[in-house]
Amino acid sequence: MRGLLLTPRRWPLAVRVPLLVSVLVLAAVLTVSKVLLDKLDREQTVQLAALSNAYLDGLTSALMPAVIRKDIWEAFDALDRARSLYGGVDTDWVAVVLPDRTVLAASDPELFPVGRHLPPEIDAHRTGPTLTIDGSSETAWLSRPLRQDDADVGWLLAKIDISAELAVWHDAVWTLIGIGFGLAVAFAVCGWLLVSRMLRPVGILARHIAATTELPSPIPAEDLRHFGAEFKALSARFNVMVEALREREALLVQLAEEERLALLGKLASGMAHEVNNPLGGMLTAVDTIATHGGAASVRQQAVEFLRRGLNDIRNVVRASLVLYKEQVPQTSLLPEALDDLRHLAAPEAHRRQVTLEWANVLSHPLQTDGTAARQIVLNLLLNAVAASPPCGCVSVRARFADGLLTIEISDEGPGLPPPVADAIRSGTTQSAPPNIGLGVWTALFLARRGGGCIRQLPQAHGTCLALELPCEEVSDAALAA
């Protein structure tokens, strides 16, 4: 979850698009705000300069006679009257300084007494530019030399409060920031609503794709009512694709069934072969008995031969019974039913001179699809027998522990072909990959359908495949019922 939050690329589209729009809107508003504020700043500076010049012009004309005469009262009176006349200029103080740097008069005489020198830090502004803005202290300094006939008769120095102008600027800043963030939030909310609405078909499509673990389900027509033309076309294509997948699945199942029947046919032919062989010997034995039955030793040999042949036939019949039973779907796997597979595979093993080692330690029936489990084991077993060299050994070990049925089939063959190994490693079941037998694919399919899997276990020689099926033991009460 934390990784999701820290990775915007993984955020939902319904979140990313509004956020992107908001960021763009905010960037646009901030850019426009910057331009406007710069312009406002320039306009305010120009306006303040114009106002300051008008103020200084008016004061200069009013003060000049008094300054020339060094008339303290007239200078003060002019400054005092100017305070009410120039309402647009909020002066902290104004001072008239004589050429000897002493104060002739000031609007605040207690701050700048008559005849005193200005403090150096203030006097420094006297010879500065006409307007000096000090934003940190929200003040501006005005300076104007007073000249008569090209002679300096004094200076006019003023400190004015520009907090009102800066307040306008700050108000504009906060207003623009407020508008920017307001628009960004509004666009984010509206964008989220709109994009969510626009992406609703995608959500429906995604839900149908992820509706089942096996196959996607088609989108019902009633869900398409509010879709736009593009999504309607997309959904139609999706439904066609789903239908095609379903048909393919059905075809695969059919192919699997045919494969199973083919295997059965193969088994049947093998069984017929196994039955036919003892039958030939048995008929010969019968003829021997009929011809030489008088001889006890010959008869005894013929009878023994008949017994062995009948035993072989009985084994084959047992295998047939097992095969017949598999036609009936089973909801449980009996330990004995698993053992029957040994007999089914025995003829093929015998034919290929392969030894079967059987270690079935199951003690109770298990709640799982017994037919499928037997089909899987039989397929893997026959493949193992087929892959084993003559005089080789194929071992089957079945056990149940911690809710998991594990049946391992190992052989001494050359190993799995790469396509088969890949198919087992990837657990591919959606379609039968090329270059692998249908038996393997069927086993994979059935294992996946049962909620389990087939894994290849490491082994020094040959191949070891393990079928793992999650299941529970059938309780004794259920058995009694």
Binding site: D77, A105, P109, P113
Partner: protein
């Protein structure tokens, strides 16, 4: 109080006589097709910045004299005094100092009566919060005078310094004239000057009308009682009908509602006639200062 009686001709019979003379003069003028304006000069010996007061004064004089009245104001006492001496104005409300300076050419037309007497004082004022307790604490001050021709706003303080053997330039660090008693109060209140010489009557009026301004100052020293700034005319025209008409209007001010309203605005009791000896103390100060100079 009895000391003041000889200076004040306040008898009822006298006011009535003056009024009769004034009315007679008015009747003569009424015969003219275009009556000539009477020009009345004003100085800041009162609160001359009060436009309502000026309007009421003009209205009263027009009504009583039945003549156009032109109130003439200038920045300095000197200008008004010069206009009076040059007969450019018929009469002027000037200070006692120019009156005594030009005593040989000027005559009294009327004298205001303030709080029962035609007298007033000069105040030395300082900032409200200043710790000064005596005149000597003002040494080194920037001091504001009212006018170089003002008794209360210059001569009294100058004479006080003379009595202590010093001069304004020596005692104070710097001095300047504001050309108005109200301006002296403004200068001290604003801190432009640490102390000031001001007309006591004007300061008292300001303390009632503009308490916010006057309360920023306080009185450090009051002078002795001196002759209130008079309405003066040139001696040559003292008996002219126009001058008599003005004089009658002034001394009869308290006899009409409009006049009483005007007196209330001026915060004066009335106008009266007086003997020039009322200004002898000012004359002595003037002569002392002149002698020292």
């Amino acid at each position: 109080m009895s000391k003041l009686e000889p200076w004040v001709g306040s008898g009822v019979w006298r006011r009535r006589a003056l009024l009769a003379i004034g009315l007679a003069a008015t009747g003569v003028r009424r015969g003219s097709a275009a009556p000539e304006s009477l020009r009345f000069g004003l100085t800041p010996v009162f609160v001359d910045s009060d436009m309502q007061l000026l309007s009421a004064l003009q209205s009263y004089l027009v009504e009583v004299t039945d003549r156009p009245i032109e109130l003439v104001q200038r920045r300095t006492y000197q200008e008004i005094t010069a206009m009076l001496l040059a007969d450019q104005i018929d009469a002027a409300w000037i200070c006692g100092f120019p009156f005594v300076r030009w005593r040989d050419r000027l005559s009294l037309l009327a004298v205001p009566v303030y709080h029962g007497h035609p007298l007033y004082q000069s105040y030395l004022i300082v900032g409200r919060d200043r710790a000064a307790t005596s005149f000597f604490d003002l040494k080194g001050d920037v001091h504001a005078f009212s006018d170089p021709d003002s008794n209360s706003g210059w001569l009294v303080t100058r004479h006080l310094l003379l009595e202590h053997g010093t001069t304004p330039s020596a005692f104070f660090s710097r001095t300047f004239f504001t050309y108005g008693h109200r301006n002296v109060v403004r200068a001290v209140a604003a801190g432009l000057a640490q102390s000031g010489s001001v007309d006591g009557y004007v300061w008292n009026v300001l303390s009632e009308r503009e308490p916010k301004l006057a309360s920023q100052t306080r009185i450090l020293r009051r002078s002795e009682w001196l002759g209130f700034p008079p309405i003066a005319v040139t001696s040559a025209r003292r008996e002219s009908p126009d001058v008599k008409l003005l004089g009658t209007a002034l001394v009869t001010m308290a006899s009409s509602d409009k006049g009483r309203l005007l007196l209330k605005m001026l915060e004066l009791d009335r106008f009266t006639t007086s003997d020039p000896s009322l200004f002898d103390p000012i004359a002595r100060m003037y002569h002392d200062v002149e002698a020292a100079s």
